[in-house]
Symmetry: C2
Subunit: 261 residues, 2 copies
């Protein structure tokens, strides 16, 4: 994730997977990093199918899967024109030649439904897997501060509900979804999975052993009736310095997966 | 949890908290043990209020709180006449003289609602804390095997929904609830907490470090808007033998709490 070479004034070129691929992304606003790399490590080991990166930004998570899984095909789905432009710059970069032919971009809003979603290019059952790193602070992600409301009201309008509804529509039966979110979103995530995805694997991520989680990574299977599994945490840092633990280092750099290794 | 002395033919007398109190329970059917002791360790450190043990059986979890917290008052709520009889035998046992005056039994079905619940002795806002170790295999705990259904349908009929609805009714504002369940019940638990209890603490329990969880212990606060916290697991066994880890051993024996120490 260090700078490889300067890009345009307003963009940076950052190396991931120990420099195996780069991301061209705006210097301002949300910048991809650790969360996207961890999310990509939740995609299956040796994945060979078609994967949608929903809300891809400049393409960090999707490209990390393309970098690790050399037979995977990726569609970067993003509604923001500036981010899509940077995704195109990213794919055009010479360092990404090895994955370029397997990655395409799609301008579409993840929250579209039905015919409008299909018309935007997000067909029913068109993917084997979907990744998502939904924004944390969208208005729909917050419950009303004025009242406590029952789950059906809070959750059916939520951002995660809408994103996972789309994931369920575009993923084939027995296909999968993975997302990374804050632990406080766990209720909304599980509610949105119910009746759509089963066999959920929940991986807490903590900064240090013994800490409460700062992230949860959730993977689930379309139409599965398997019970939920709660995994021991991935601890990012060990030892006295700020370096990553060996497992986190391997996952971030595409050398291991979170659920299949 | 070893046998202290023989009871009636159909009952055993088992010591808990290193023999500090005993439980008289039927030899057949569900027998209290590890789950009840862990659940009791989720009640607050130094608890001094009134606590309802919902579905108390012979009283294991409630008595474990009475044993650890010497100013706590406990109501053992149980609908089954045979279990209530054993709860009475338990309280009458000489080993339990030190807690007997602080514990009472109440014959009531936890799933009662409204006026019927109040008439059974479960008044609104009558408790500072509620514990529950709901049965795992009740019919209402299973979703239909024939179809995938949306959460609102599956969950609003569920056993955990009904038990947590009662907990929300009988606990005062800012009072608490704690329960122990299987990880596969996590969706239903979080759904039932929504709009009633907040600030959920989720503690996974695994048999050995690195394993997926075999239980979750959840504690939450009535009316709180604090976010959910996902704790690192309590690991029951360490080392090469079948002995408990130091933390599990301390929690099981009333020497520490799970969330406050």
């Amino acid at each position: 994730m260090s700078a490889v070479k300067p890009g345009e004034d307003a963009a940076s070129v950052d190396g991931f997977h120990r420099g195996r691929f780069v991301l061209v992304q705006p210097r301002k606003g949300h910048r991809a990093g650790l969360d996207a790399m961890l999310l990509a490590a939740a995609a299956p080991k040796g994945f060979t199918g078609r994967l949608a990166d929903l809300g891809a930004g400049a393409g960090a998570a999707g490209l990390a899967v393309a970098s690790r899984c050399l037979q995977a095909s990726i569609v970067l789905v993003e509604r923001d024109a500036e981010m899509l432009h940077h995704a195109s710059l990213t794919l055009a970069h010479s360092a990404n030649a090895f994955l370029r032919s397997r990655v395409e971009t799609l301008s579409a809003d993840v929250t579209l439904t039905g015919a409008a979603r299909r018309a935007a290019g997000l067909d029913d059952a068109a993917f084997d897997f979907a990744l998502m790193n939904p924004p944390f602070n969208a208005p729909a992600d917050r419950a009303s501060p004025d009242e406590l409301r029952r789950a059906a009201h809070v959750m059916e309008d939520g951002l995660l509900e809408r994103w996972l509804r789309t994931a369920a529509a575009v993923v084939k039966p027995r296909g999968g979804v993975a997302l990374i979110a804050r632990p406080q979103s766990l209720s909304e995530i599980l509610f949105a999975l119910e009746g759509r995805f089963g066999g959920a694997h929940i991986l807490p991520v903590n900064a240090r052993a013994g800490d409460t989680a700062i992230r949860v990574i959730v993977r689930a299977i379309r139409g599965s009736r398997a019970p939920l599994s709660l995994f021991p945490p991935l601890t990012l840092h060990d030892g006295a310095d700020h370096g990553f633990s060996p497992r986190a280092e391997a996952a971030i750099n595409g050398c291991t997966t979170l659920f299949d290794d």
